[in-house]
């Protein structure tokens, strides 16, 4: 069981270009349909927990492992998901440092920056609109982005403001 879990997440790791969200549909297909380890509703619940907890959203992999095989499962899925991609990042990072001053690297860097920025905006938009755009989401997200960019407040204050706004607007 642990080996099967590990191999599935190794496979998912190398498909996850752009982050975990890319392979969420595929992960859901495997754990819900192919292996029937949990229901679709249970998977969605795990996703909600991974979003609510502080930390990288990659921890959805640990939650799936935890649900399927307890604590060993949580370690195995996280390791399976992070090791292959991590090894690749380690290797590419070395190549990248070695060619620090190469013209082709500068060319690629100039090209990647606007793509990265566009994807960061897209990620923020998707997170801000879990059930579509409305004025409440737009208000909280805009206020949060504005305060982050124009002041030096610790973002924890901004998130506390979001908690109060959520209580006032959504409850």
């Amino acid at each position: 069981m642990l080996l099967v879990l590990f191999l599935y997440f190794v496979l998912l790791s190398l498909l996850a270009v752009g982050g975990v969200n890319t392979i969420l549909p595929e992960m859901q297909r495997i754990v819900v349909e192919t292996e029937a380890w949990m229901t679709g509703a249970e998977f969605t619940q795990l996703y909600a927990i991974s979003q609510a907890a502080p930390g990288p959203n990659v921890l959805i992999t640990s939650l799936v492992g935890f649900k399927v095989a307890g604590l060993p499962g949580a370690f195995v899925t996280l390791a399976g998901f992070c090791l292959p991609a991590g090894a690749l990042a380690y290797w590419v990072g070395g190549v990248w440092e070695r060619f620090r001053d190469a013209p082709w690297r500068k060319l690629i860097q100039r090209a990647l920056l606007p793509v990265t920025v566009g994807l960061v905006f897209a990620g923020g938009y998707l997170l801000a609109t879990p059930e579509g755009v409305d004025w409440k989401n737009a208000l909280i997200a805009t206020a949060s982005a504005t305060v982050l960019c124009t002041t030096r407040f610790n973002p924890l204050w901004i998130l506390s403001g979001g908690a109060i706004a959520g209580y006032l607007l959504y409850a």
Partner: protein, 180 residues
């Protein structure tokens, strides 16, 4: 202000630990704050470059960032220390939360507060995007690429496996023609 890298592996580990510890709603805004603004290990442009590289590699972006930066400063031990620092606390918290979840999931007040935090955290992403965009905001080609990626990946939900190669190819052409 010239950035200075961490002086020891312990300092590196603690830096990434402090990113993971506070990363409500996503790691990226906190990674930018800690690495560029609080500890000043990286110049803003350097952070953007490293993030761009890690976004094009498979796997979790900020975990890749911890590995690439850890390697740059302390080799393999640094890569491991950065990754473990980033993951240690969130790993414990997410499992604790999963165990407690059944008790509060149905409470509408708790759900409202959690939704509010989630949307404010999304705003932090957008604000971090604005910070990253400042150096290139004067270039029309960059604006077009930023908007194109946002519309395709964010509003139309086109899979990243399609958006990334297309956007990268167009951006490379623009970069070759010195438009970026």
């Amino acid at each position: 202000m010239v950035p200075t890298p961490p002086r020891s592996i312990a300092e590196l580990f603690l830096g990434f630990l402090s990113i993971g510890a506070r990363a409500f709603g996503g790691v990226l805004p906190w990674a930018h704050r800690v690495l560029v603004e609080e500890r000043r290990w990286l110049a803003p442009a350097d952070f953007s470059e490293m993030l761009a590289l890690c976004q094009f590699l498979p796997g979790p972006n900020v975990a890749n960032l911890s590995i690439v930066l850890g390697r740059r400063w302390f080799g393999l031990p640094g890569a491991i220390a950065g990754f473990l620092g980033l993951m240690a606390l969130p790993f414990v918290w997410v499992l604790a939360l999963a165990t407690l979840y059944a008790d509060w999931a149905t409470n509408p007040t708790v759900r409202a507060v959690v939704s509010g935090i989630g949307v404010a955290a999304a705003g932090l992403f957008i604000g971090t995007g604005i910070k990253l965009a400042r150096p290139i905001a004067g270039k029309p080609a960059a604006i077009v690429i930023i908007a194109g990626c946002f519309v395709a990946a964010g509003m139309l939900r086109v899979p990243l496996l399609i958006v990334l190669p297309v956007a990268a190819a167009l951006a490379l052409m623009a970069s070759k023609m010195r438009a970026l």
